[in-house]
């Protein structure tokens, strides 16, 4: 199966109607890079180079990459195994498991880390950081892999079986290769997430690159070294994105025509029923039930649990509002980039996709300071107003939405677009009436995912929100700042419960 392009009269250039908004999105995503350039070179190339070339930089880089590798591996194992069990086997209550496998997304990394640390202080360090990060990020792999599994035409595996392959061999040789792009895309998001994470590594006291950047802001009150270090993260991001693009190849997996595929017949589990259920229980208990139980414990003890219902409700409402706006803007910006990434080859397409990922591995504080820098100079009216905060969310989470859009467009058969073009539709109409409509469920899933990650964001929210505005994550940070874990627990619980709604929809979502 081949992907043909949504191309205009034989050329392989994206039409302007896609290219212009995609470039706007890319420019916004590149803002932090401009800032980093200005700041890193503040004291000359020599100084920046001294910071980067320090022996410690290499050590921290190795630690960050090592952590990312382990977490990606763990997430692949958990995400792919859960997706196979839930989508392709006759495991009882598959719908419920599917929701449970998505819910860990709702758990902020710092809450997961705190839960594990309070139960087992010995976990601090690499093990704890890897564990907490894997348990909150494996849904990034589970979701696209499960979606792809549901979209795969079972006829292919059946054909392989009829040619004499056993069920495992058919799975291995026909189905798994088709999961590779989805798994690689999810793995990339996990890797970038780990590189940018501050909460879990900080609680687990595991020194990584991002933690060093934070320490640098803290220790020297000097933005130059932090900026120079951030540039290294950007370079790493570009390398990772390029490696992922290489690994997935450009093959598409669209069927010709929607609605022709039946769902695959779920495989009977037989004597594997108990181990399979056990695995699902262990993973979801560790990733969802355990942090919730820890919060329940903190709610139950301690005298600082003074319920401020009004404050909780206000923070919850604000969180929903900014996260919805963040998800809306991010999805809108991601749409043209995602379509181009899925349908076009060539340098422009490559550069646009890479630009969209530029800010993703950067610590939130770096992105926030870059927006402070630009806004106080060129956009004073929106400084410390909601539009700027929403833009920060878009810069931070554009890749999440781009990845979802790209995957959704890849699964939509391009022949329909070609057909519409040949019938004389303009590129805009093709986009609106064919591409977006076919990809809509996947795009909506991306929006829900972005919504969840916006809800949990802390460092950028801290610097860019309108003065006096509180989100649940900020309340949580405020209360734990004084050690009032019991007072923090309601906010953490509310955050998880609210983020559970889009996670629930994602888990139930069928393409």
């Amino acid at each position: 199966m081949h992907t043909t392009a949504l191309r205009g009269s034989g050329s392989n250039r994206p039409p302007l109607v896609l290219l212009v908004p995609a470039c706007a999105a890319a420019l916004l995503a590149l803002l932090p890079l401009g800032y980093l350039g200005v700041r890193a070179l503040d004291r000359g190339v020599g100084y920046a180079w001294d910071v980067i070339a320090d022996g410690r930089t290499v050590v921290l880089l190795a630690r960050s990459l090592g952590l990312a590798a382990v977490v990606v591996l763990g997430s692949l194992v958990l995400g792919v195994s859960l997706a196979l069990l839930i989508v392709r086997t006759a495991v009882p209550r598959a719908g419920l498991w599917s929701v449970l496998a998505t819910l860990p997304l709702a758990v902020p990394s710092y809450v997961a880390a705190f839960a594990w640390l309070s139960a087992a202080p010995g976990l601090a360090g690499f093990t704890g950081a890897a564990l907490a990060l894997t348990l909150v990020s494996f849904p990034y792999v589970y979701l696209p892999v499960a979606a792809t599994l549901r979209g795969i035409d079972p006829a292919q595996e059946e054909a392989a079986r009829s040619l004499g392959l056993g069920p495992m061999a058919a799975l291995w040789r026909v189905t798994l290769p088709q999961l590779r792009p989805a798994a690689a895309g999810g793995g990339l998001l996990v890797a970038l997430y780990v590189l940018s994470d501050f909460g879990a590594v900080s609680l687990m006291r595991y020194d990584t690159f991002t933690r060093a950047i934070h320490t640098s802001y803290r220790a020297s009150f000097d933005r130059t070294p932090a900026a120079a270090l951030s540039v290294v993260l950007v370079v790493m991001t570009v390398a990772l994105v390029a490696a992922e693009a290489r690994s997935r190849g450009r093959a598409g997996h669209a069927r010709n025509g929607r609605g022709a595929a039946r769902p695959a017949t779920p495989a009977a589990l037989g004597r594997w029923r108990v181990p399979a259920l056990g695995w699902l229980c262990v993973v979801t208990a560790a990733a969802v039930a355990f942090p919730l139980a820890t919060l329940a414990y903190w709610l139950a003890v301690g005298n600082s649990a003074t319920w401020d219902g009004a404050r909780l409700a206000a923070a919850a409402w604000t969180t929903l509002g900014v996260a919805a706006a963040g998800a809306a803007l991010t999805t809108a910006l991601a749409l043209p980039v995602g379509v181009i990434a899925a349908r076009y080859r060539g340098r422009t397409a490559h550069l646009l996709e890479q630009a969209a990922y530029a800010g993703h591995a950067l610590p939130g504080i770096t992105v926030a300071l870059s927006l402070v820098f630009f806004a106080v100079r060129y956009a004073r009216p929106v400084y410390q107003e909601l539009p700027l905060l929403i833009c920060a969310y878009a810069v931070l989470f554009l890749p999440v939405a781009v990845a979802a859009t790209r995957a959704a467009v890849l699964q939509a058969p391009p022949i329909l677009e070609d057909l519409a073009r040949s019938l004389g539709r303009t590129p805009l109409r093709v986009l609106r009436e064919v591409t977006v409509r076919l990809a809509a469920p996947g795009v909506a899933a991306g929006a829900a995912l972005t919504f969840v990650v916006c809800m949990k964001e802390l460092p950028a929210t801290l610097l860019l929100r309108p003065t006096g505005m509180d989100t649940l994550a900020i309340r949580l940070w405020t209360e734990t700042g004084t050690g009032s874990y019991a007072a923090a627990a309601p906010y953490a619980a509310a955050l998880i419960l609210l983020a559970a709604i889009p996670s629930y929809l994602l888990g139930r979502h069928r393409p």
Binding site: P121, L203, R205, T215, A324, P466
Partner: protein, 338 residues
């Protein structure tokens, strides 16, 4: 099916786009904007009283001291803030060095002992926090007399500390200023040789002592008092130990305020009033009783149960010099403690 999906998506986008415009209408002009690196839970009550006392609307932006000072530097002359309320002297010293702070009137400065304010006259300490040892009496009956004793072999594996915490770094900076770089490096090497347990912050270090994971930890005095307020003294195992006169481990650091350059005249006026209010008897009593810190303006005494600041005889040091944190960090990293 697909049609309804795209409609739903469009509706979602439309609603989401409306939300910010609805909530954005709240941002009218404030009389005074305070950037507070101090925790909201700790200072919100007194800042609400401050609003009444200075007679104008006060907007407080809470954040992390270091991150807010980075933000102020990034904002430059365009800052929205009139007053920076910092958790420690280091962040104020850094802003002072970059020339971001306007001077305070001498009358305001004079309300506080010269040891707890900027020599340049551009920031003033509001409350004091003392470095102490917190120990687990089940593990160590008698805590050491000096922080210097912690490098003795008998403390191997028993010490907890928070190397990335600003207060720990300020303490090491203080030691460098007091005793010189060479002897501080030796002390840090001795500490490292005793394989201390690194915690992410003071609260976790306190947890470590409480649970017996470590026997003793270096932290600020009020963490212990806050824990007692949170859980009740009966369920806190750890005990607090003040270091003797002049010991570098007993450094007194301050939380303080500075007026920002770039704020308009009106805001500067309010900022000045606000600084005065924070040094008033009412505010100083609040810090003594509610946050268990040491009041710094003359005439107000500390909370019951705390030794008098004068009796502690902390080491004499220019807190403005605590901004040489970069060298400290390089040293801590060089020794391998971070």
């Amino acid at each position: 099916m697909t049609r309804s999906w795209s409609h739903r998506l469009a509706a979602f986008v439309a609603v989401a786009a409306l939300v910010p415009t609805l909530t954005a209408c709240s941002g009218d002009d404030a009389g005074l904007v305070i950037y507070s690196g101090r925790n909201q839970g700790l200072v919100e009550p007194i800042l609400q009283k401050l609003e009444k006392a200075i007679g104008t609307k006060v907007e407080v932006r809470y954040g992390d001291s270091a991150e807010l000072s980075a933000q102020i530097l990034e904002e430059g002359e365009n800052t929205k803030a009139g007053l920076f309320f910092s958790q420690d002297a280091g962040a104020l010293g850094a802003l002072s060095k970059e020339d971001r702070l306007a001077g305070l009137p001498q009358a305001t400065l004079d309300r506080v002992d010269a040891a707890y304010r900027s020599a340049k006259g551009d920031w003033v300490g509001v409350s004091g926090r003392v470095r102490v040892l917190v120990y687990n009496p089940g593990k160590v009956p008698t805590p050491p007399a000096s922080v210097h004793d912690l490098v003795k072999p008998e403390w191997k594996g028993k010490i907890g500390y928070a190397p990335t915490n600003a207060s720990f770094q300020a303490f090491v900076t203080g030691m460098r200023v007091l005793e010189g770089d060479e002897s501080t490096r030796k002390w840090l090497e001795g500490l490292k040789a005793n394989s201390p347990k690194a915690y992410g912050n003071n609260i976790e270090a306190l947890d470590g002592v409480d649970s017996g994971e470590v026997s003793i930890a270096l932290l600020n005095h009020y963490y212990w008092y806050e824990r007692v307020a949170e859980k009740g003294e009966a369920s806190v195992t750890a005990k607090v130990h003040y270091l003797p006169a002049g010991d570098p481990g007993g450094l007194v650091n301050v939380a303080g305020v500075g007026m920002l350059k770039g704020a308009d005249e009106k805001q500067s006026e309010y900022a000045q009033k606000a600084a005065d209010y924070l040094l008033s008897e009412e505010a100083q009593k609040y810090f003594a009783e509610d946050t268990k810190e040491y009041p710094l303006a003359a005439g107000v005494s500390q909370a019951k149960g705390l030794p008098a600041l004068s009796s502690l005889n902390p080491p004499k040091i220019d807190l403005g010099q605590l901004d040489s944190l970069k060298e400290t960090l390089a040293m801590i990293q060089g020794v391998g403690l971070v």
